[in-house]
């Protein structure tokens, strides 16, 4: 087990290096200075209070959505719809934060969180139910339902819930429930600690509780789980609902910590970053925090890279995407074992890849 673990770290590092080299070649070919770009990227992510604060602020939703994606993958689902759950959770929190009567801040925040979690979980249950009942591919449903969620929230904040200020946004939530800013003037907030607590709780739930044991058993082999008396269909739905709830929390923290209201189309694919930081580490939930911090740093460093090295910001996304393509290739760095296994895997790899 430990050997396998070490192997993973080595592979991760090799993949990282490979994609950075590919990125550098790419930049060089287009006439940029790759080294300078990487230096600026690092500086923009970590040096200075504002930069570090921005990294931390971006880290929170990426972490939560990343862990959410990883949880769903534990029961064998690709929850590509966390973006939708994030949107719906965010607008629920914005609604609860403004329209509910004033009450002590901790209770109010808790209510916002719980409502957002419920909405996110219910939205994520739809693809899960369709998957277990009729074997509908969950990725398709997730992606398509995300568009529905986006348009629905857009209608809400332009119509019934509009603040009527001319901007497509909901009215601001009560001042007292806004999460406290840490590291001003950046937008980092106490949502960071909240997210860390929640992630620790989820990891505990997965590896130390009965429910988590069920999740892992179903994810490994659902027929075996059924044989042991675990209702695998129910567990898949529960897994997706937990994943959706995490998306809802991410949305809540964005609203209560950063914006203070729901802004139409605010997230710009945050959940995509979460998804890829989970996929890069093969959905190993204990590595997700590390990777999502890395991705958040890339995101926040990209701006200063564009400013000081003249490289368009979107190259960072391109490099992370290259990273993820390499990372999905399970056997890319299995050079040693390859020859031994070659004959055995010819058939099995084809079967393994057929899903």
């Amino acid at each position: 087990m430990t050997e396998k673990k070490n192997n993973r770290y080595v592979t991760l590092l090799l993949t990282l290096l490979l994609s950075m080299v590919v990125g550098a070649i790419f930049m060089f070919a287009l006439g940029f200075k790759p080294f300078e770009a990487y230096v600026q990227l690092f500086k923009g992510a970590f040096l200075g209070k504002v930069n570090l604060g921005t990294t931390l602020q971006k880290f929170v939703p990426v972490l939560l959505t990343g862990v959410g994606f990883a949880v769903a993958s534990k029961v064998g689902c690709f929850n590509a719809g966390i973006e939708g759950e994030l949107y719906l959770g965010a607008i629920t929190a914005a609604w609860a934060g403004h329209y509910l009567p004033k009450m002590p801040a901790p209770i109010h925040i808790l209510i916002c969180l719980v409502l957002a979690m419920i909405v996110g979980a219910l939205w994520a249950a739809i693809p899960a139910i369709l998957k277990v009942k009729w074997d509908v591919n969950e990725i398709c449903v997730c992606i398509l339902s995300t568009y529905i969620a986006k348009y629905f929230t857009s209608w809400l904040c332009n119509g019934p819930l509009s603040a009527k200020t001319g901007m497509p946004q909901t009215p601001a939530v009560h001042e007292n429930i806004m999460l406290t800013q840490i590291m001003k003037p950046s937008q980092a907030n106490t949502g960071l600690f909240l997210a860390v607590i929640i992630v620790v709780a989820v990891i505990w739930l997965l590896y130390r509780s009965t429910l988590g044991y069920k999740f892992l058993t179903v994810g490994l082999n659902s027929s075996h789980a059924d044989y042991m008396g675990i209702n695998s269909k129910k567990v898949v739905i529960q897994g997706m609902m937990l994943s959706g709830a995490l998306g809802g929390i991410a949305g809540t923290i964005e609203v209560l910590g950063v914006y203070g209201y729901f802004l139409d189309n605010f997230s710009l694919n945050i959940a995509n970053d979460g998804m890829l930081s989970s996929m890069i580490v093969w959905n190993d939930i204990r590595l997700v925090p590390l990777m999502s911090f890395f991705v958040a740093a890339l995101k926040s460093g990209a701006l200063s890279m564009e400013r000081f090295a003249g490289v368009p910001r979107s190259i960072v996304d391109t490099i992370t995407a290259i990273f993820i393509i390499f990372a999905t290739m399970e056997t890319l760095f299995n050079l040693k074992k390859k020859k031994k296994k070659e004959k055995v895997t010819t058939v099995s790899s084809e079967e393994g890849g057929k899903k």
């Binding site: 591919n137 992606i143 568009y147 890849g353």
Partner: protein
């Protein structure tokens, strides 16, 4: 109601269906070999960008289509190599490729065309339309058959070609055999890997056409994420049609119909967000119905044994 349901709706349906049709064919050909092509969206997006870029810089729509196809093949091959050679889960590879396409087109838009968000220019040479002068004065036929885009005609031709390839040739039989039972195919002397690569390349061609048509035929522009889930609608249509190109085409026509009716309903005061939501909602519904029917059929087949 006459503004909504009139004779021009027929052409409007075909117009909105064609980008989805190519995407659906792209998913169909791989699904026959049991590869779920989630990356359709990414293939389409990349080639849509390449098509606009080439058309804008060289002024040739034909070259644009060719290069779009080449880029489509390139993206499909990334997925194929990841999946077949390096054992990546096909869904993971698909998602990865989609993200890659989203990022690289955004980057390319900034780097080569100097804008962000949307690019449109009169210098983009679009795919020509077939104007039949003889139909000009015949009212109904003119509305239905005149001024089709070349790729719209080609899409329907492609349905027939693909159907013939898959169901009437040895190659198609082999592809379907690989999809049904790879082990049996291997025993029969078919190289499963080779077949899968071939299928992926063809899906790259079709996805490339889908992208080129989307950005040069359906519209004359490129925008971030211009595909807007059309690749996934294609996958849904593929499921609806049960991997048979003819039925897949009918499925895309339903989507096209809903899309064009929705666009016309906008005049009746429905909030635009609901209109925009409509195609996605119906896609999910149709997908579920298709899978429900499939499940029932397979249950029936089981109980008949």
């Amino acid at each position: 109601m006459n503004d909504v349901f009139n004779i021009t709706l027929i052409y409007a349906t075909i117009r909105s269906a064609t980008p989805i049709l190519f995407a659906a064919l792209c998913a169909t050909v791989t699904q026959q070999a049991d590869i779920l092509n989630i990356g359709t969206e990414g293939i389409m997006l990349t080639s849509a960008f390449v098509a606009v870029l080439t058309s804008f810089t060289t002024g040739s729509w034909l070259l644009a289509i060719v290069l779009a196809i080449v880029s489509g093949i390139a993206i499909a091959l990334i997925m194929a190599v990841a999946n077949i050679k390096y054992n990546a889960h096909i869904c993971a590879a698909g998602i990865a490729v989609n993200m890659f396409a989203l990022a690289i087109t955004k980057f390319g838009l900034k780097q080569f065309l100097g804008t962000a968000g949307t690019f449109t220019s009169p210098e983009i040479k679009e795919i020509p339309r077939i104007h039949i002068a003889a139909l000009d004065n015949i009212p109904i036929l003119n509305d239905i058959f005149n001024n089709w885009c070349v790729t719209e005609v080609f899409g329907i031709v492609m349905v027939v070609i693909l159907w013939f390839l898959l169901f009437k040739t040895v190659w198609g039989l082999r592809v379907r055999c690989v999809g049904r039972l790879p082990m049996a195919a291997e025993t029969a002397g078919i190289s499963v890997r080779r077949m899968k690569y071939e299928v992926m390349i063809i899906s790259g061609v079709l996805g490339g056409l889908a992208g080129a048509h989307l950005s040069l035929g359906y519209s004359q522009m490129f925008a971030d994420n211009i595909t807007n889930g059309r690749g996934f609608m294609g996958v849904a249509a593929m499921n609806f049609g049960g991997m048979n190109p003819i039925f897949v085409w009918l499925g895309t026509l339903i989507f096209g119909f809903i899309d064009s009716v929705g666009a016309r309903l906008q005049a009746y005061g429905l909030p635009s967000q609901f209109i925009l939501m409509l195609p996605y909602f119906f896609t999910i519904t149709i997908l579920v119905l298709a899978m429900w029917r499939k499940g029932r059929l397979s249950e029936k087949a089981k109980s008949a044994l």
